[in-house]
Amino acid sequence: MSRYLYYPGCSMDGSGRAYGESLIPVCEKLGLNLAEIDDWNCCGATEYVGVSLSPAYALIARNLAIAAKSKTDGEPLVAACSACYLNLAKADNYMKERPQLGERVNVALDAGGLHYDPGSVEIRHLLEVIMNDVGLDQVRANVVKPLAGLRVAPYLGCMLPRPDPDHRWKNHERPDDLDQLLAALGADVVDFPLKTECCGGHMTQIAPKVGLELIRRLVDEAEHHLADMMVTVCPMCQINIDAYQGEMNAEFHTKHKMPIVFFTQLMGVAFGLDPKKMGIGRELTDARPALKKIGKEAQPAADPVAPAHRPRPDKRALPMPRMESEATAAAETPAEVAR
């Protein structure tokens, strides 16, 4: 078993509980030994950095200092929440990039008897560890119940592939790592065009109209591609798309029912673990009906449906600009230029 330090993040025993409870047994199966770091604190999410710089980075660096102390032999620190991962990686990088910030953070840490040398802990995300350290062959070897017949839309969200301070991703806008992993589980993977578009993050809390529109785009597109469910790597994306789907439906008068689960939950199901223990059923938009499709005959011709034609404009409506006038306008312009 290879040992990794583990930073769960606050949502793992709250709204993202299904993630927390599924990733531990899945990692055990894959031979990853996750050692939770002692008495870790919140990473500050996207809120603290927008209030005060030095305290925000000192808050993150306290976790890094604890991780550096509990290292026995160069183990990386693994986070599964995208925001936690990015905050940890950013703090480590910016303390190097701006020595003044690094110094300041260490003066602050000193008040608590801690110290952190930037660069001393390797910070990684669980998905990337599974892809690179474990490998797809090992994943395939563990699959006992292939997810054939289940059409999934892989959804990474923003903060994992971008801004990528440690240069771990080949593609920042259309990476296919999660696609490959889900295909290795036997699922029918949709080429989801919005896989790294934003779910709105905290917008559902501070500007609901903006947030709900971003959620609508994602769910609409997943439905358009006839996905049975979306699969994510981030607790924020999960709660936005899952829990706010009701409010989104009310806002836009739609009737979407698009379940979204964490990739570790599907891995657990494919590895033959009890779906209930993988946190299936904790989502508000029930994923269980979709999971029943596993093993059944795949639906034939699952091509994306063409969007419905726009209704013809009302005859009483204002006239639209016509082609002739456009043609005359085009003829006039070069003459003007010549003059």
């Binding site: 606050c10 919140c42 000192a58 990088n93 602050a108 903060m159 971008r162 990528d164």
Partner: protein, 195 residues
């Protein structure tokens, strides 16, 4: 006498100073002065439609020393931190981090028109400082009662659903070494005030 009446020609300098101030308060090297006004940022932005100014416009305002207008713009608050602009910016400007800096400065000077986003950040930060962890129930309850009381009826079934599925912690989780965390954060806050 005459000399004293002439207003000093510092308009340009004050602009430079604001640009420098924003850069100095940004984590990492902001590269803000490298902006070539190409507009890739606004074109990549999922929430640009809801912004008072596109990021490009905002950066031009910062350079022009329009501090008050820049800090009153809702643009930084509408930024969703998706980093699309950051990976596409041909000049490598740390756009999202500059947005965080502007939020912090607006918060400091109480220069915002909508108190919802800074209010949310403040409640979040307050809880993290007290408990060492974020507490979703306390955060949303306080925030919704204060800012979205009319949204509560719509939210109730969702809250109940989350509760019955074991996704809401009733009590906050407290870390053990809260004193140590407080010492670190207050020292950091002192350092922040110095600059």
């Amino acid at each position: 006498m005459v000399v004293a009446q002439v207003s000093p020609p510092l308009a340009v300098d004050s602009g430079v100073r604001f640009l420098e101030e924003v850069s100095a308060k940004t984590a990492g090297v902001s590269r803000l002065e490298m902006c070539i006004q190409c507009g890739t940022c606004g074109g990549s932005c999922p929430s640009a439609d809801d912004m008072d100014h596109t990021p490009r416009m905002l950066f031009a305002m910062i350079r022009a020393g329009m501090k008050e207008q820049a800090l009153r713009s809702n643009t930084p608050w509408m930024c969703v931190s998706c980093y699309h602009c950051v990976v596409r910016c041909p000049q490598g400007v740390h756009i999202a981090d500059v947005m965080y800096t502007l939020k912090g400065m607006a918060e400091q000077e109480k220069s915002y028109r909508d108190s919802t986003p800074p209010g949310f950040a403040r409640v979040f930060v307050g809880q993290v400082e007290t408990f060492g962890r974020s507490w979703e129930l306390g955060l949303t309850a306080r925030h919704y009662l204060r800012h979205f009381i009319l949204r509560l009826p719509r939210m109730t079934p969702m809250a109940a659903g989350l509760f019955f599925r074991g996704r809401i912690g009733i009590l906050p989780h407290r870390i053990r070494q809260r004193k140590q965390l407080h010492a670190i954060l207050s020292r950091a806050e002192e350092l922040e005030k110095v600059s």
